[in-house]
Every structure is written in C-alpha cells, then in structure tokens.
C-alpha cells in the first residue's frame, strides 16, 4: 500500500515490563483468533440478553443459531477461496467468485435439471467448470501478469454476462432441482443428537470437507508452504527456486473449484438455478472478501489462517441472524449491511494499529 511508508517502530521496553491487562490486550490484538472468539461470545451473550428482555421478534436460542448455520456454508467456503487467492500475494484478490457461482450454477442446472445426469456426475462437472473458470483467472494473473483486481473484474463481467445469456435470462427449476432443497434440511446428529440442536446437512456434506481439505492443503503440504512463500515475498520465492507461477495459478484454480461447489449449495438453497445467484445485489464476492479480511488475512499476502476465516464466518452469521430478529422486515437486511461495513472498517483499522504497535498479527 502506498500510504504506509513509515516502518513500524518498536520501543525496546515493550515486552519487558508488561502488566496483566497489557498482556491481555496484546494477545487480543495480535491473536486474531482470540479476538474473534471473544467477539463471538459477546455477540451471542448480547442477543441472549436481548431475547430474555423480550426485545426480539422471535427467540434467539441454540436451535435458531444452529439453523442459521446454513448461511455459513456458502459464506465460509467463498471466504476460504478468497483466503487461498489473497495468500498468494501480489495484490491477489478474486472479484469473480460470485459470477463463477452463477455460471457454474447454470451448468449444474443444465446437467442435473435439464439433461437428467446422475447427481454425482453433475456435481463433479459443476466443480470442474468452476475450476476451469478459476483457471482462466489464474492464467491471466500468474502467466500473463495481469493485476488480480483487473483480471477478476474482467472475468466478473464476462461470467456474469454468460450466466445470464446462456439460458436467455430465465432460471432452471425443473422437478429434480426443486427436490434438491432436501439437502439443505437440518438433521439430528447420531449418538448424542438428542442433546444438541439439529444441524443443517450442508454443513457436513460441503462445508466441513472444504475446511478440512483447505486446512490440510495450507498447513500440511508442500504446496501450502509454497503459497505462503510466494505470498510473503514473490522475488525471494523465485530465487529460492519455487514454481511461483504454477503455485499462484493453482490458488486461483482452487478458488474456482470451491466456487463450483458453492454453486451446487446455492442451487439447492434456492431450489432453482438462478442466473444471477452470485451477483444479485451486493454479490457474493464482497462478503467473502470481508470474511477473509475480518479473519485476519493480510491483503498484502502471505498471512492468514483457516481458523480465522471460520471464526469470522460464525461471528458474521450469528450477528446477522440476531439482527434479523431485532428489526422488522427490510430494516433487518439493511442493518446487516451496516454491521458488515462497520465490522470490516473496524477490523482493517485494527490490523493497521496492530501492525504499527506490535509488528503484525498472526
């Protein structure tokens, strides 16, 4: 960034004499996971108190919190897609994820709804189409050298347009697609299910596998270490002999792959393959980038963790769920915008402050 030109200054006696309060503050500011965990507790307790006081239109309880987790599925998955792309550095960002969701959702609509392919094959084809669209981004950014913002802005326009034109602006909602709504239902967990609320099935079929795979990819594979390497210092990584271009290319491809799976979830949620599913209103890319930044992913690359993104999603989902109960009608969705914007600006300013005072977050 251009405006941050002064290097972070550290006072030498910063760490020697530190009280308990100062240490707690430092942990909260430098450990994004700790901060998010505290914020989640604050938000949930706050809404429980509001609920007890009778200020909400419906009960905010564990059942409601569990049911609202269905909203976390697309949000967290796209947040993880942005995590991969932003980690790759050199201004990495993907504005096109929402448009990829729309376009591969239409592919799914055709394959499963119109042509009657088996479900597993339709899902595989949809995911692959997402990966292909992501690979176009990756090719432009990693091999041709486009700034990521420009490449994904261009593909956002192109995919969005194609998704709408491909079926002449109309959604696909044939009977097989409509029956798909059942995969978003809530189920009772086995063994100890009667003691905890029912949980949306999509959490286990889509979100959990994605979280585990991305975590393993980042924390336990050579590829993950390379991705952090090129994100931290592109030139150093090249001199260290890393395949910089291939690594960055794959990050965008994986982001597209995840968006392809999100397309299946979205089609099931709407019970219809809508051509504007991922781009209507504010689109899906902005919330996903917000989640990633809130989760402590540095926009400059090389810093960010899966746990941060997951916790940030939980915070936003439960905050939004509460806001919906606190306001009547349209007001609720408007205050969700306010909350999202305020939280993002707050998190960004906090990142800046932390960098100057403590030399960065982890």
């Amino acid at each position: 960034m251009t405006t941050t030109s002064a290097p972070p200054t550290k006072t030498p006696d910063d760490t020697t004499q530190e009280g308990l309060g100062a240490r707690a503050l430092r942990v909260l500011l430098t450990q994004r996971i700790a901060l998010l965990a505290v914020l989640i507790v604050v938000v949930v307790v706050w809404f429980f108190v509001l609920d007890a006081g009778g200020y909400l239109t419906a009960s905010y309880n564990f059942d409601y919190m569990s049911a609202s987790l269905i909203n976390a599925v697309p949000l967290a998955m796209l947040g993880l897609a942005e995590l991969l792309v932003i980690l790759s550095g050199r201004g990495g960002i993907d504005l096109s994820v929402g448009a990829i969701v729309s376009l591969s959702g239409m592919v799914f609509g055709f394959a499963y709804g119109e042509w009657g392919w088996p479900l597993w094959l339709a899902i595989v084809v949809t995911a692959l189409s997402g990966a292909l669209l992501g690979a176009v981004n990756g090719f432009l950014v990693a091999y041709v050298g486009f700034p990521a913002l420009i490449a994904t802005l261009a593909t956002f326009y192109a995919y969005k347009s194609l998704a709408i034109v491909i079926n002449d602006q109309s959604p696909i909602s044939t009977p097989p697609i409509q029956q798909l709504f059942s995969i978003t239902r809530s189920v009772e967990l086995p063994l100890f299910g009667q003691y905890v609320p029912d949980v949306p099935l999509g959490l286990f079929t889509f979100l959990l596998p994605t979280v585990v795979v991305v975590w393993v990819l980042l924390a336990r594979t050579t590829y993950g270490r390379r991705l952090y390497g090129i994100g931290t210092n592109d030139v150093a990584a090249r001199w260290a002999g890393l395949p910089v271009r291939g690594t960055r290319f794959k990050a965008y491809t994986y982001a597209g792959l995840i968006s392809g799976f999100v397309a299946v979830v979205t089609v099931a949620q709407f019970a219809s393959a809508r051509p504007d599913a991922g781009v209507s209103g504010n689109g899906m890319a902005l919330p996903a980038i917000t989640i990633a930044v809130l989760g402590g992913v540095a926009i400059t690359g090389g810093i960010g963790r899966v746990a941060g993104v997951v916790l940030a999603t939980l915070l936003i989902v439960w905050l939004n769920a509460g806001i919906l109960l606190a306001f009547v009608g349209n007001e609720g969705s408007q205050y969700q915008l306010l909350a999202l914007g305020a939280v993002l600006v707050f998190a960004a300013l906090l990142n800046g402050l932390t960098t100057r005072r403590y030399g960065g977050t982890t």
């Binding site: 960034m1 251009t2 405006t3 941050t4 030109s5 960002i93 504005l95 432009l140 041709v144 050298g145 486009f146 700034p147 913002l149 420009i150 490449a151 802005l153 261009a154 593909t155 956002f156 326009y157 192109a158 995919y159 969005k160 347009s161 194609l162 709408i164 034109v165 002449d168 602006q169 209103g281 504010n282 902005l286 980038i289 917000t290 930044v293 926009i299 400059t300 009608g329 349209n330 007001e331 408007q334 205050y335 915008l337 306010l338 999202l340 914007g341 305020a342 993002l344 600006v345 960004a348 300013l349 990142n351 800046g352 100057r356």
Partner: protein, 333 residues
C-alpha cells in the same frame, strides 16, 4: 522535481512528460470509430443527433466520476464505494427536489454530500493507513445502508424536472451538445491540465510510483491521498445530479448499483495502470465512451443487453493485456 512515468530510464530521460495523447488513447479513438461505423452500417439511424446525443448524456456520469477515480488509481488506491455514494447523493437530492429545491442549490447539496462521503474515505485511507480496497469495501456497505435508510423502503416519486438542463431533452442541449457531456469534457480538460502541468498534479503520480520516495522528496503524501478521495466524492455528487436528470420521475433502490465497477472498467480501459503512477483522464473519457457505445450498440443490434457486460470484460482484458505486452517488449529491448 522530475517524475518520469515510464520505468525504462534511458528512453524516457529525454522527455519528462509523456506524449499529450498516448498510443492507447489513439487506439481507443480508432476502436470507437470502428464501432460507430459498424453501427451506422447496420442501422443507418445511428449516426444521427437523435442517437448520438443520448449516448453522450449516458456517458457523462461514468466519465465524470471516472476523472476522480483516475486520480485515486494514479495514487495507487481504488474506490469501490462510489456506487453506494451515488445512491446516498441521489436519493437525498431527489427528495429535496420533490420538496421544491431549486436547481443550483440542489447541485450544491449533492456536491457537498458527495464531498463529505469522499472525505470519510480519504481520512480513513490516508490517516488510518489501511489498504484502500478494504476501507472502501467497508464504506460501500455503510453508504448502502445510509442510502437504503434514506429511501425508507419506498421509491422517491414525483421528482420534478428541475434538472432538465442536464437531461436528454431539448432543455439539456445548447447547439445540439448535451450540457452534461459538455461539463464532463470541461472538467476532464481541467483535470488533464492539472495532472500534467502543475506540481500538485505531478505529486499524484509521484505517490503512485513510490509513496516513500515521494515523501522523502517533500510531497505531503497523506494530504494528497485525502484530496484524491475528496475530489472523487465531489464528482460523485455532481454525477448523481446527472443520474437523476437521466432517470424518470421515480428513483428506486437500484440507483448506483454496479456503477463502481463500470467506472473502474472505464478507467482501466483508458490505460490507467491499476498499480499506480501512470494514467490519464483523457483515456478514461474515451474508455467510458467506448463502454457506452458497446452497451447501446448491443441493444441497437437487437442482442440481449446482458451481452454488453461480456464485451466490457473482453475490452478490459485486451486493453490491459496489450499494455502488459508493450511493457514486456520495452523491458527486453
């Protein structure tokens, strides 16, 4: 001080300023000419005043806000909140027009409101020292909230024709030239001169090239960055008046949606580097004109209007791609 725009030092030392009209801008003029020629060939009614004038009017708000966006991007920043800012400015102004405000005061109101929103962005970015795209994603949501609250779940109805001097009708033209477009060209020309021939203007390029070096050379980086977002906000205010003038007597919640990407697309197609330090407002005007020509061309040819976005995407890739290739051949030469 000398701020050279091109990274290749040997070739640019002979000339401090780039050419008044760059190669990319000439190519853009050529492409627009080709599109107009094709459209004129397909639909003979295209090259008439009745068809060109609405095109110029529709180009005006994007090109006008694009002037501010160009300066922001030259400093190495970006502003994705202009869509939300347009909504706030236009709903507030439209409501006052309904209440019977006169045109000059209404324009002033819109510009001041836009300026305040731009100031918020500028203060957060310049003094909060956070990456511009993050802050403006955040303020985009805040502005959207503000705009929707002002709407209050209703459309603004019965807007009087106070702004018809900026509109498509006969009142909006002098000697056949739409006022909105003339104002846009005038402001573009002023900005072109300011960016090219004044020290203050060159400072924006210096910041985009290397903010740290600019600071060491005596540029007040934070104030300049603040100014860039403030200017964008002021132009959003004026652009919102054009948006109201182009609309019907009803303003709904979709106003401003997606405009931030349209403006950024116009700037990028115009040859301004998203990495900062290079670009011109003339290119942005041409970029906006190209995008609008494609949009109206697609409808005139009877294709789905959604197809125009595909062309915008392709134009962005081609414009930036050729620029990248040129830079590569410059380096290897």
């Amino acid at each position: 001080m000398t701020v050279t725009e091109e990274r290749a030092p040997v070739r640019s030392r002979s000339r401090i300023l780039p050419a008044p009209v760059t190669g990319q801008e000439l190519v853009l003029i050529g492409v627009i000419a080709v599109i107009w020629a094709v459209l004129a060939f397909r639909t003979p009614a295209f090259l008439t005043a009745g068809s060109i004038q609405p095109l110029l009017v529709a180009t005006a708000p994007i090109a006008l806000i694009g002037v501010g966006m160009t300066i922001v991007i030259i400093t190495g920043g970006i502003d994705v909140s202009v869509g939300g800012a347009i909504m706030v400015c236009s709903v507030l102004t439209a409501k006052q027009l309904v209440a019977g405000l006169s045109a000059p005061v209404a324009v002033l109101l819109a510009v001041v409101v836009g300026g305040v929103l731009g100031l918020v962005n500028g203060l957060l970015i310049a003094y909060g020292r956070v990456h511009a795209i993050i802050i403006t994603f955040g303020t985009a949501n805040l502005f959207l909230f503000l705009g929707l609250q002002l709407f209050g779940s209703r459309t603004v109805n019965g807007i009087p024709a106070t702004f018809e001097i900026f509109g498509r009708g006969d009142e909006g033209r002098t000697l056949g030239i739409p006022h909105a477009f003339a104002i846009t060209v005038l402001i573009t020309a002023l900005a072109w001169w300011y960016l090219r021939h004044t020290a203050g203007g060159r400072h924006f390029y210096a910041i985009g090239g290397d903010a740290h070096a600019a600071r060491l050379a005596g540029v007040r980086v934070q104030r300049r960055v603040l100014l860039a977002y403030l200017l964008t906000g002021l132009l959003v205010g004026l652009g919102s008046c054009f948006v109201i003038a182009q609309g019907t007597s009803t303003l709904d919640q979709s106003v401003g949606t997606g405009k931030e990407l349209a403006v950024i697309a116009a700037v990028v197609i115009g040859g301004t580097s998203i990495m900062g330090g290079r670009g011109s407002v003339l290119g942005t005007l041409l970029g906006a004109l190209l995008v609008q020509s494609v949009t109206s061309g697609v409808t005139q040819l009877g294709w789905s209007s959604q197809l125009s976005d595909l062309f915008v995407g392709v134009f962005i890739v081609v414009a930036v791609g050729t620029d990248l290739l040129r830079a590569r051949t410059r380096r290897t030469r």
